[in-house]
Symmetry: C2
Subunit: 212 residues, 2 copies
DNA sequence: CAGTATGGATAGTGGTGCTCTCCACTATTG
DNA sequence: CAATAGTGGAGAGCACCACTATCCATACTG
């Protein structure tokens, strides 16, 4: 398969594919001569994955490159990917109030301790969670109740996520499933949550099912 | 309070505040003379909210403006906000394969029907959910099981979300809580989910709690 | 053998979220 | 009562990011 066919199959313009090749999001095709290369199904798959991580996951190119590099490691391990690469896909920000952030960190540490979660201490996810907790405080919202209930529910979500990962055949498939499930799962959960919120709100504040 | 104090209190640079004023993210201060204005606590609150929606929620300026405009409507109604304004905060994309997208839409319609969710038919959240379902299909992942379990769990999440909204004192507070809870809630859930995934993975694939 | 496609490289583009500069004017300080 | 600093407002400029366009020597295609 040459680049034009790869482009047609995936719907990604040829210049964009070239750009991804330059950026290391896509491995180079097998060179048959100095300026001819062949691409195969793996390139199609990878390209689709990149597009989905970009469009749905809204991950920056650099993050996607790191994630794919992790997937392509010689000794790929699902737990490693879940523990090291995927945490980089949650955003961080520089919070204004250091004291508030430290309090939020302490709150997250407490949560992790009480739940007995086996989460590495330097985990970026802790940082991210603390930042969100601090953000709630900064806009004057009390996140306390939400935090406990959310923790309950994400535990169950994670069980299904890991089941989703485990069901994939080989190790490579599991890595793929871990990435896809985590990134797309966020978006799926967000969309479903909005619908469930609308439904719950309809039940709560007078039902207007005129267009449902 | 003048602009310098507003800037110091919130940590937002003065030129950025001026930019937000131009963009309509922040209402103008009360003019005391042609080139002097006074700002108050409401500006501080609003500015913090804007920063949090930008930094944590990663919403575009235009979306934030629309959201805040909705909050400032004369007859603010929580269900309206949850049903109209907040759905705009989930992304959309132009999918390559129309047939796949239509199948995904049908799947989402079925889900909504089976759950009896009262969700408006044209809802943007449906579009978004369908896009994610199509994305799963596009990368060759079977979302079927995940979908049912996620639907179960977001129903419970939404119950807590609405409780979070209801607990806020007045109507204005509830609108604020709905926005904050929805947007920041997404990020909080994502961060907690990553931690729960790491924990679940640690339990599943050999426990290495050396640094937990 | 004419015309199109290719890999590779470099430069340019459009959108976004600021940031800088300027201006006439106002407030504050010594 | 200066001198200095700060202000609202408006326009231009900037940095980053994800592309997109152009060019070239070479290779495939009809």
């Amino acid at each position: 398969m040459r680049i034009a066919e790869l482009s047609q199959t995936t719907g990604v313009p040829v210049p964009t594919i070239k750009y991804y090749l330059r950026e290391g999001l896509l491995p180079a095709g097998e060179l048959t001569s100095p300026n001819q290369a062949r691409y195969d199904d793996r390139h199609v798959q990878r390209l689709r994955l990149v597009r989905v991580l970009l469009d749905i996951g809204r991950l920056p190119i650099a993050t996607i490159r790191d994630l794919l590099t992790e997937l392509d490691r010689p000794d790929p391990d699902v737990h490693e990917v879940l523990g090291r690469a995927l945490p980089a896909t949650v955003g961080t920000r520089e919070t204004s109030d250091p004291a508030m952030l430290e309090a939020a960190h302490e709150r997250v540490r407490l949560l992790v301790r009480q739940r007995g979660w086996l989460v590495s201490d330097n985990a970026r996810t802790r940082q991210s969670a603390a930042e969100v907790v601090a953000a709630f405080a900064q806009v004057g919202a009390d996140v306390e109740h939400l935090l406990e209930h959310y923790a309950d529910l994400v535990e169950r979500i994670a069980v299904h996520d890991l089941r989703f990962v485990a069901q994939a055949g080989d190790n490579e498939g599991r890595l793929h499933a871990a990435v896809v499930g985590s990134i797309l799962g966020d978006s799926l959960l967000a969309a479903l949550r909005r619908m469930a919120q609308e439904h719950e709100s309809a039940k709560m504040f007078g039902i207007r099912d005129d267009n449902c």
